[in-house]
Amino acid sequence: MRQRRWGIVALYTGLTALSVVWLVPVATAAMISIRPLDEIRDGPWNLSGATFTLDNYVRAWQQGVSGFALNSFIITLGSVALTVVVGALAAYAFVHLKFRFQGVAFFLLMTTMIVPIQLIIIPLLPWFRTLGLDNGNWQFVGVVLVHTGFGAGWAVFMMGSFFAAVPREILESGRIDGAGEWAQFRHLVLPLALPGIISFAIIDFVFVWNDLLVALTLLDRSTQPLQVGLANLQSPHLSQQDLVSAGAIMAILPPVLLFASLNRYYVRGLFAGGVKG
């Protein structure tokens, strides 16, 4: 008994120490972001005579973050909306219908989870030019389509696994009542699998919001999202940790808030990818 108690103490000490180590990087960034640059030089955690200010955020926001953030929201919300709509429809077909080349199509969709995006990124640039998606706001359309194409595998896989969990008896009784495929999808599967769809939407939001490579390659300055702006701001040769840290905190805020408020759905989505896979 006594030994067990010491074991528990050791366990919590270990977990707490590890948690602190895990939180230090973000906490440091947050600390740097609320202090003037010249104070950081003596170490961000040296708090003697520290002044706290939101000035870094104001300047970062004015020097481009506002535009980048808007672009991020346009790209992310657009991609998530399109991926969820076309993905849910397709996932229903893959799980509950039968069609030609279904196996091949499913295989090709699953490859998106494995291959690097470098496999498609190089010809996409001339392809965008051909389709006229390479300038102005058309770039948003283009990048949304790329995210939808590359996210299609996850969409079908994840939403499909939630759709498959809808009890077959329910669908069967629907069919007996004369419901067509559309009615079954719309009135039976969608409402029952809604939590799963939300889980996927959150994960897709985090994924698209955090993308660097697609946006860096395909978009110009007027449509670039936060991650690209942040990557360009960060340079070993420039001392602007004040702006960079504030930008980083703002860039991580939307997904972290989403994660914090809808933790349940997020974990469920990851579980679905993990347990059954």
Binding site: I8, Y12, G14, S19, V24, P25, V26, T28, R41, G43, P44, L82, A90, A93, F94, L97, K98, F99, G103, A105, F106, F107, M110, T111, I114, V115, P116, Q118, L119, I121, I122, P123, P126, V146, G149, F150, S161, A164, L171, F185, N210, L213, T217, Q227, L230, A231, Q234, Q241, G247, A248, A251, I252, P255, L258, F259, L270, F271, G274, K276, G277
Partner: protein, 339 residues
Amino acid sequence: MRTVNGRKWRRRPSSAAATLRPSRLLLPLAFVGPLLVVFGAFYLWPAVNTILGSFFRWGLLRPWSLFSPAEWDFVGISNYIDTLTSPRFWNSALNTAVWLVVFPLAVTVGALFIAVMIWQAPTGQRAFRTIFMLPMTISLVAAGVIWTFIYDPDFGVLSDLVRNLGIDFAIDWGPLEFKTAEWLSNPGTVDLGFAQIPLINISLIVAGFWAFTGFGVITLTAGLTAVPEELVDAARVDGARNSQVIRHVLVPALRRPLTIVATVSVIFALRTFDVVWVITQGGPVQDSEVLAVTVWKQAFVFLDSPQAGTATALAVIMSAALVVVAFPYLKGLLRREDA
């Protein structure tokens, strides 16, 4: 094709009812069509172009196109030969190999360690899990930026810690050279005889590890909740120590989630771009350049020279390697369709 779901319950209604529907062929198309159009135009088509284009010489100023054969400059497999014989490729391949060995190992072992600790905690499991999952939601760009604050030679937390605790040291043991400084320029090397591995790669892997281990923790936690408690209790009653319980009871029960974590971290390691790009851009010189960065630089940094062909060849090699390595995982994903 293989949807047991569909088959099972379609068999029951009479075949007459089935043939009565003329929409049988068009209907699935209406559901799956929109996705396949986008997927075809913005994934399959570019992928096909990459694969075909890798047999031609071209640059992005005059891109290769399937439909203008007059401008083709067919070079056979020489893009592949050029790639496989260039020192730059082997330098990046070595750095990628370091990622491939160290990263999945660190993530799998680290996540197992953390997940088991959390699982043993009587209370507060959710709070701890949330802390380790937090970095997963953070972009790798932001993670990279954040870790420069840790590694910075002047004010970085790690440098500060080393200095204040007086634990700065430098060692030179045979093949290993290491010093507790210059984390992002030159913290040392390991000499393998045939090649020198710059330890800066480890600095970057640590940042990736921090960002990604939460995935392992959550996946293994899902597996641990499925382990029957009686099994663990029985082992304890038989006098098994903690390490023995982990080794002989938990690890076998966790085989599936452990495989998933290992495979997904291998995929992550081979795809690595963001962290390296943001922290070092592959530098100093090419000490931390990985294959994903090389592809991108070859295709997009030197726009005037016709290097896109070699870049696509490298992209094809990377993708092929990933498909081979992740094939069991891919098969697992495909099996899911039947379940």
